[in-house]
Symmetry: C2
Subunit: 334 residues, 2 copies
């Protein structure tokens, strides 16, 4: 594999000039440039970005940590990050934490060893040591799907509390009083916890007593949604509506409710969260809280790449979240 030195010799110039042709072509006389370009061609020169990173202490690579690529909302945000990074000629290394803090720790360590210029993290534990030490060491990072509106670091997210509130309010406006929630495990992320708070508060604001029997925590999975709804439907006084922590759980709940013999949405109204790609193709089409995952990814990348250029004050970007009404919710008939 040929190097700048080979090219330099072949072109009869110095390595510095070759380097200039690569990085600041305008600073080289046209004739010289052509000579060098020709030489590069001749010896099939391939640029070594690793060596460059080593010399400049910048790898032009960022790390992205998400819970799991299998959840399409994270796939969407990942796409947003990638496309923005791509446009700035930055590579993205992806890691899944599987909602496990220890794995998140490993990833941060490995990515920092790889000399990534910054990190975008959808964290599982806001209060862990990881973030603390990143802050202490002034390492550039941005939190994605963050629940935090302030603090000593940049973050992009939505108001999950408000999302939970909106979903519940919609159900109440349809006349529902017996409203349950199938939530993602609070230990896995605090997003689900905030949505639950919004749900609880909305009940209270509308004079509906909170019944803790109507909350089930589960993992963020199809089967989790299915099993949970069955449990809830077998209650002495079963719910007429359910708010699910995400659209996968909702899809599972749809299946579970049908298997329990219900007709949807007549017998049970269902609201999801995320507004994933296929939400409007479900049967019934899913009423859900829209989350601009792709834009959030783009924005996180934008903020991070600004940070790696120059230090700046923490930015907290809370994006708009809206209720999207489709077919899975209807007036309470009881």
């Amino acid at each position: 594999m040929s190097t700048v030195l080979d090219v330099a010799r072949l072109a009869g110039v110095s390595t510095a000039t070759v380097s200039r042709v690569i990085n600041t072509p305008d600073s080289v006389r046209e004739k010289t440039r052509e000579k060098v370009l020709l030489a590069m061609e001749k010896c099939n020169y391939k640029y070594n970005a690793l060596a460059r990173g080593f010399a400049t202490k910048r790898s032009n690579t960022i790390g992205l940590i998400i819970p799991t690529i299998s959840n399409s909302v994270f796939a969407e945000s990942t796409l947003g990050v990638q496309e923005y990074a791509d446009q700035k000629n930055i590579r993205v290394i992806l890691g899944n934490s599987y909602y496990k803090y220890s794995q998140e720790e490993n990833l941060v360590k490995a990515l920092r060893e790889s000399q990534v210029d910054g990190l975008i993290i959808t964290t599982t534990n806001l209060k862990g040591e990881i973030l603390k030490s990143l802050i202490d060491e002034k390492f550039p990072f941005v939190l994605l799907f963050s629940t935090i509106k302030n603090g000593p670091f940049s973050a992009v997210g939505i108001d999950n509390y408000r999302g939970g509130y909106l979903a519940t309010e919609h159900l109440i406006s349809l006349g529902h009083k017996r409203i349950c929630m199938v939530a993602g495990n609070f230990s896995m992320t605090d997003r689900s916890f905030h949505r639950w708070h919004g749900y609880k508060r909305c009940l209270k604001d509308n004079g509906i007593p909170y019944d803790k029997e109507l909350l089930v925590q589960t993992d963020y999975s199809l089967s989790g949604g299915r099993d949970s709804i069955k449990k809830l439907l077998s209650l002495p006084s079963p719910p007429t509506a359910v708010f699910c922590s995400n659209d996968y759980i909702a899809l599972g709940a749809i299946k579970g409710a049908r298997e329990a013999g219900l007709t949807l949405p007549k017998d049970l109204s269902i609201v999801g969260f995320d507004d994933m790609q296929t939400a409007s193709y479900m049967v019934p089409a899913l009423t859900t809280i829209h989350q601009p995952a792709y834009e959030m990814g783009q924005r996180a990348a934008e903020i991070l790449l600004q940070m790696t250029d120059r230090q700046l004050k923490p930015i907290h970007d809370m994006m708009e979240t809206t209720l999207v009404v489709r077919e899975s919710t209807t007036r309470c008939l009881v």
Copy 2:
């Protein structure tokens, strides 16, 4: 940021010894090792994998190129690659080609400049220059979702022809004769093309004349499936069954058929391809061709990482694909 040199000085040893403690701890006397470890602790030493890569000419990073992370079948295969790589302490850089060859070219170039140790590619164009030059330069790579059973490079895939045949055979066995196909654009990938060949051949083997009016090409999208099925249903002699190139198209077709006033599966039997995560949760639950995407990703990573250690003969691993019968197909009633 402290380096091996700082650690060495603090511990009163040479940099070589520090390096040994990191890489081959057993080759260092225990007492010395402890001294070094302590020194590392003291100056908060952080290992620089970039510098290592530079010195060893191995980045311990591989590149993964897929059409788009938005398709869950590629998300699954990506997960397989990542988990295998993770286990071997290898990082994965991900890139989306969006089914565009020029983008695939850019990605290969950028990733090679980043000195990845190898590439896993779900290619858009088997016959392009990219693969040729990778072979010429003996650069380690593995094709994923490959349609190729032989050739001078390693590949992991399934028999798409057989998949198409199986799907069609199933429909014929249910008494269908008017069977259409909504295919992914042949120009985007040859996988769809092979599936279509299987479809065509199966029709022939069963004495059903091929009607080119019954083939529609579209992009791999929900709306593509919806629009295409509507076109086909408005034919003078509409189909009673449809084979879709993937599950997204099938999901779109389900929606489109319903919008056209049909009852499923009574009025139209639908077969998909991929068996994505949510296939069994669709309404009706989707009959489809199962593709072991996760395992394929794992296997591709395994092969690639073997290749980066030592040169070896090309491996072609064609995995099993099976028909999964659910609720979206039923006996032809016409």
